[in-house]
Symmetry: D2
């Protein structure tokens, strides 16, 4: 099967990783890159001599006709670049969050649908061995029903100049939850405070309610003295802790359970709580770089093979939750229905 011709727009922090993985992939042919900064382009050429570089995105599209455009620019420009690429007939891979507003994100989804192009959103975590392992455990019923999910994603800084801690950190949690839980989110509630002159929220607590009644809770902060990246998936059959800062043992599955014997359901007078405390297991994880897996799946999707990829609709959903969380904070903490 022919290789997918790919171009990258935006060579700041993340773009070079896209270049490197596209270059290494046997599914893609890395043809072009675009950035406003000539020095970045020169550096990229040094690494990939065959790469054609552009400061004009239009010129890139016209001259190299890529099949896939990967967008790694600041979020404010996602919408314009994605719309342009789609209109030029390209498929798109867009950094998260997909767009600066749900309106913009919706327009991307709509245009992609109308033009029959695919828009992937770069929810990188969902391609890691760890998150795939969580999904597998949940799908195969090993966790049973979920009691609740709790995530702590905190550290000292780095304050972003233009977005709150919610837009900075929550997309990771939301995309992981979306990938694992696969349920409709119905409402969001959030409390947040700010302690900086820009008045951007820097500590936030977000509660999510799913269709089934399941809740998930996020603690997001730029003001914690220590870095924590920890999610608890508490289930009826077993529970799982995902600590992304652990080296070899990111996932720990606790074969602990709680069940209830009710002798008189009417009165609930007699309830016997049973605790089962079993083994803990830290499964060996696939350690491949997430971006490598991601590009394999994207290539599969573009070639009509089965793939597990995050699409524009997923990205739109994440943006909607971010907006709802911000809205809840602005209005004093009510539940916002989605």
């Amino acid at each position: 099967m022919s290789r997918v011709k790919a171009a990258v727009v935006g060579l700041g922090y993340w773009g070079p990783n896209l270049l490197r993985n596209l270059h290494l992939s046997t599914d893609f042919e890395l043809v072009a890159a675009c950035d406003l900064d000539a020095k970045r382009l020169a550096r990229a050429s040094g690494h990939y001599p065959a790469l054609r570089t552009y400061t004009s995105f239009d010129a890139l599209l016209a001259e190299t006709k890529p099949e896939l455009v990967a967008i790694a620019t600041p979020v404010a420009s996602h919408h314009a670049l994605a719309m342009t690429a789609l209109r030029a007939g390209c498929h798109v891979l867009c950094e998260k969050p997909l767009a600066a507003t749900s309106k913009e994100a919706s327009e991307i989804v709509e245009l992609a649908g109308r033009l029959d192009r695919k828009v992937f959103v770069d929810h990188t975590f969902t391609y890691t061995g760890a998150v795939r392992c969580i999904r597998e455990h949940y799908e195969q019923g090993k966790l049973g029903e979920l009691f609740y999910v709790d995530s702590v994603r905190i550290n000292l800084g780095l304050f972003q100049p233009d977005v709150s801690v919610i837009w900075d950190l929550a997309p990771h949690d939301l995309s992981i939850l979306q990938h694992v839980v696969q349920q409709k989110l119905v409402a969001v509630q959030a409390n947040g405070t700010h302690h900086n002159p820009r008045q951007l929220v820097d500590v936030a607590y977000v509660t999510l309610r799913y269709e089934s009644g399941l809740t998930a809770h996020l603690h997001l902060s730029w003001l914690s003295p220590v870095k924590v990246r920890r999610m608890i998936f508490s289930g009826t059959k077993s529970s799982l802790i995902y600590d992304d800062l652990e080296g070899a043992e990111k996932i720990k599955v606790y074969d602990h359970g709680v069940s209830f014997d009710v002798s008189d359901l009417e009165t609930r007078a007699q309830v016997l709580v049973n605790y089962r405390r079993g083994d803990m297991r830290a499964p060996a994880l696939d350690n491949r770089e997430a971006l490598g897996t991601e590009f394999s799946e994207i290539a599969a999707s573009l070639r009509g093979r089965p793939a597990t990829v995050a699409m524009a609709e997923d990205g739109l959903q994440v943006v909607r939750v971010l907006e709802a969380a911000e809205q809840s904070i602005q209005t004093g903490g009510p539940w916002i229905n989605l």
Copy 2:
């Protein structure tokens, strides 16, 4: 100075600790104990041959005339026992929570005031070396202003037969916060869910707002596969983490800070965020048993010397917050003003 004659009511889980510490203390004379269960009384007599034991609280009061009555019975009986003891002219030390409702707690406060008797509430954690160290750091300005406080108090079980996870676990956090922060709480918001046939909340998130705008957040759960007891006090000058499950290093002080340089306060266009990352320090803590310290302070208070003790008003305040948190959960999560 004469010893304080003391009696203990309720010899279940906690009562024997009260007996032991009163017996060891040179400030007290342990004279009597009361319980409905004769076997418990017999066991206590085995340990303390001079102890007079009673199944009738009234008889105990009439015959032994204690100066202090320590109440360690289930919460439902606190009010009746405390009121009786006060009317008999005794001072009272009451297990937490002080009473089953804020109305009951208020009555205890009111009667104690009227009869000029003291009612202490057994907020044991506030007498530990760890919590006293936190208070000291905060009072001496070492933490600077607090950005926020976050507490995680979770484990698997033990489900209580008659109270939610909030009444079970939050009194610890609330009494610690009260002791350290020493500010008026103005509002409470909570989300909670239950996954047991009794429909008692078993996972809860409680947000507290103080007069100054400071917020504190509690994660309380009986459905976590691992036990966590961890509080973060994030401050402008340094931050502190209190992990009660650590052996030797319960308190870690991070000499990390964040400050902001604002060049144009009107527009906030230019904000420079400064991070300072310094040493971490785990101070050596006083390892004496908290109850020993507590009884020393109570004796001091009864003898008119300066003491740092939790009084009925503090216990009432905790009960009010517990009620407000429950109310917030019952009514869908609004902020409840205190």
Copy 3:
């Protein structure tokens, strides 16, 4: 079956645990205790009113005729007490180390054999859920062949007045290794240094060589700033780490392995090393108090049922290794054959 009548000699640090467990056991009848200190005896009587107390061991033996005598006195007196008890027709449970010299220990073994009495040695760790779990893994072949064993048993203090760190700490390692490895020890080598005025070795490294060539290594120290209790059992099929200071996860089994493909055994020119990195598992452990298990097994042994107990021969073997290690240190570190 009738209960075993038991007496305890020595009510210092460990004796009260023996009393309590004998009292709780349905296999034993706790009849008497002996100590030179009348206050200790009075305290014991308070807990166990039926207990007969003695300051004379001979009087105890003559009047209460116990079937089992448990000895928990300082090591210097083990030999005399054990010999007396055996001659009085009693079985004996003796604290570790069994005796102050291997000569004394041999005499105990010899006399017990001649009089057909049993002498158990209190290798408490070998009755814990953790150590039994290690033995099970090894016996069932789950670890494969052992590459080596490494133990670190270090802390700050407590300096013993009369014995070196080897006699203080190594009995734990040696009894655990004996229980798990079940192989003949053939040689011991040790290096040690002292940094205290009594010139007792306070830091020591002991290497043990077994019949099969297997080696085990101990790091023993009273001069470490942190407490560590950690044994590594490295095996061909999987490896196991036993960290006794962990709460819930004392044992971790790593399904990691190393194997070698040799294409030309003569030259060994081509060796392919294969690493297999699999799951880690922390098995749920039996949390019963070790002494409870120990007394059940001792009762079983006395009543002719199958039991896994440490006998005088095991205690003698431990003493021999302690002596050899000390000898190696005194003579500059040579291997001492056993």
Copy 4:
């Protein structure tokens, strides 16, 4: 001051790091690189277009006349390359270990002395913030006298094809100890075993004795299920633990101490052991890349400014200890005098 013209020989695993740091340094002018593999040279040219590349070391020396030659080839070729470079008038930076035998290493030291050229040895760890912090603590007397040093450097694999675990891992410990302790090593003792067809020692315990009587002990292993990199420096005033796998808190200083009061020095009958348990502190460390610091110091040394660098004599000393440790193992574990 003029820049130092530098060339790199050997572009395998480590060479590219040398290229990158020389390129970034303002003290050096990176002029040339040499490798037998043309592909490696091409890749280096891609990154550093101005770099002149050679497959012949003689041609490099003749045409580019570097002032400093950095050697990052396998150890077997260090001697020949270093001697050639010295004879061509160059200073040399050589990877550790300096040479395959102490005889070779001595010849390098001798030739450098005779030709008045400098030979630096790349003991990278000694330029890290962590190790410099340890040295500082020790030099400033904060640790007091050292009781002992213990190092654990273990992991699963990677088996080296041609050297034992001692030559692979011990150079790190030996160079760190040399840098910190700054004392003459007088004797080495080692035990080691092998479990692989090549019969290279893969588990080793090495004990070092210094002039003052201080001992250090190394546990080196390729057969541990977990990776550990931990050194304990136990001192009279405080103790320090260096855990290189920790993220933010690599160094922990424990303000714990042990001292002895001796009432009768003759008899030592009465010794009072005093334990002081104080704070633990994790100092903030300089996080600069060690190689960057190293090249600054090398440039300083070449320009006659004060510098803390590891020289050929240091490298020779390390090789001597490695040889002695191997010799001790081969001959059954005796102490080998240095």
